[in-house]
Amino acid sequence: MALNRGAWTGMVLASTLLAAPVPVSAQKFITVSSTTSTENSGLFKHILPIFKDKTGTEVRVVAQGTGQALDMGRRGDCDVVFVHNRNAELKMVKEGWFVNRHDVMYNDFVIVGPKSDPARVAGMKDVVAALTKISEAKAPFASRGDRSGTHSAELRLWKAAKIDPARGKGQWYRETGSGMGATLNTAAGMNAYALTDRGTWLSFKNRADLTIVVEGDKRMFNQYGIMLVNPEKHPSVKKDLGMAFVNWVVSADGQKAVADYKIGGEQLFFPNAGK
C-alpha cells in the first residue's frame, strides 16, 4: 500500500482537525475555589445546576486544600472562595483580600477507625478524651498534614487535649500531606484512626475495615463560609456574577438546596446563614 505525500498530508490534517482548539463559549461563568472535601462530598453537583437554571451562570469549581484555595483568592485567580476555616477567612477579610463574607452551613467531623479498635474509643462522646486514649495507646493515626481546614480542625483538637502529636511523628502519627480521600485510603490501608468530615466519609467507597468510632462532640462542628474576592485588589474579579452566587447561597433558595442534599437518605450539611 503506497504511502505517498497524499496519505501523509491526510494524516496530518486529520489529527489537526481532531486537535482543533476547544471553542471559546460565550457562556458566562465564575470561578469558585473550594476544598477537595466539599467537592468530593458531591454537594456542588447537586446545588450548582439549580443555580445555573435560575441565573444561566456556570459555576466552575477548582478544588484544592483550604490553604491553596485561600491563596488562589488572594492572587485573584478566582472570583469567590467557599471554604471551611472561619479563623483564616476572617483574618484575610481583615487584611482586605476578601469582602462580603457570610456563614453558609456546617457539617461535622467524625473520627473513623478500625473495627478492632485498639485504643478502645468506640462510642465515646468526648473527642478530646478519645484522642488522649489514641495517643496513649500509640495507635496508628493518619493526619492530612496539608494546611487544610480539616487539618487545622484536627490540630485544634489535639491542642485542646494538650497533646503534641508531632512527638509521635513517623511512629503512630502519620502525616500524608494529601487530600481527605487520599488520607482515608492510607488509613484504610494501614488500619489507622483518622479525622474526616462526614461528607467525604459518606461517599468514600474504599472503607476496608474502617468505621465511625467517635461522633457528636460539638467541638467537631465544621463551619463553612463564602466570600467574594475583593474587586479593589483585583479589578478582574467578576463582581456582579460572583455576588449573585454568594447571595443565592445564603438565600432561602440556596439554603434549601444545601439542606436537600443527602447521601443514602442522610443529610450532610446543615445551613446556618445569618444565624
Binding site: M1, A2, L3, W8, S15, T16, L18, A19, A20, P21, V22, T31, T36, N40, F44, K45, R60, V61, V62, A63, R75, G76, D77, S178, G179, M180, G181, A182, L184, N185, A188, S203, F204, K205, N206, R207, H234, S236
Partner: protein, 234 residues
Amino acid sequence: MNEILLAVTEAGRMIARLDGALSEIVLLSLRVSLTAVILASAIGLPLGAAVGVGRFPGRQALIVALNALMGLPPVVVGLLVYLMLSRAGPLGQFGILFTPSAMVIAQTILIVPIVAALSRQVIEDAWQEYREQLRSLGASQLTSALTLLWDTRISLVTIILAGFGRAAAEVGAVMIVGGNIDGVTRVMTTAIALETSKGDLPLALGLGIILISLVLALNAGAYWVKEAAQRRYG
C-alpha cells in the same frame, strides 16, 4: 485481584453504554494532548534539525540541555506555567488559567524538549550519511535541514508519538493549570486522580484501562504505518 476484575468490568460497562461524561473526558484529553504535540512538533522539529545540521559555538551545551530537559517533571512545568498565567503573574490579563488552552501550553512546553532532542539525534545521524552528497549537489544548510526532515519522516513519526504518549499520560501539569474543573478541564488523568482520592478505585482503574488502551491503539497503528513505509521506501 478482585479490584482489578471490578475495574475491567467497570471499564467495559462505561464504554458499552457510551457514557456521556466519559466521552467528554476522553475527547478533551485527546484534543489537549494532540494540540500540544502538534505545536511542540512545529517548534521542536525545526529546532532539532537546526541543531543537528548546524555547527555553531555552544552547540554541545545546547544538546546536553535539550537532552536533560526531556526529564522535566510535569508538576514543575505546571507550577511555572501557573505562576505565569495567574492574575498575579505577567500573563494574567489574558485569563487563560483554568482553561484547556493553559493545559495545551503546559503540555507543549513539556514535549518540545522530547521532540527536539530526539529529532536532533535522528537528523544528525542522517546528516552523517547525506552530508557529502547534499553539499555536492549545492544544498544550503537550510535546504539540507528541510530535506532531512522529510527523508527521516518515518522515524520522526515515532518521536512525535512518544511525545503524545508523554502528554497523554501526565497529570501534574494539567492538574495545576487546569484545575480539574468538571466539564471544562477534566481529562483522563485528572479524573483518575480524583476518583482515586474519592476511594472509588474500580472506577479510577477502569478509566486507567481506557487511557492505556487508547495510547496502545495509537502506538500500534503508528508501528504498522512505520513498518509499511519501511518496506515501501527502504
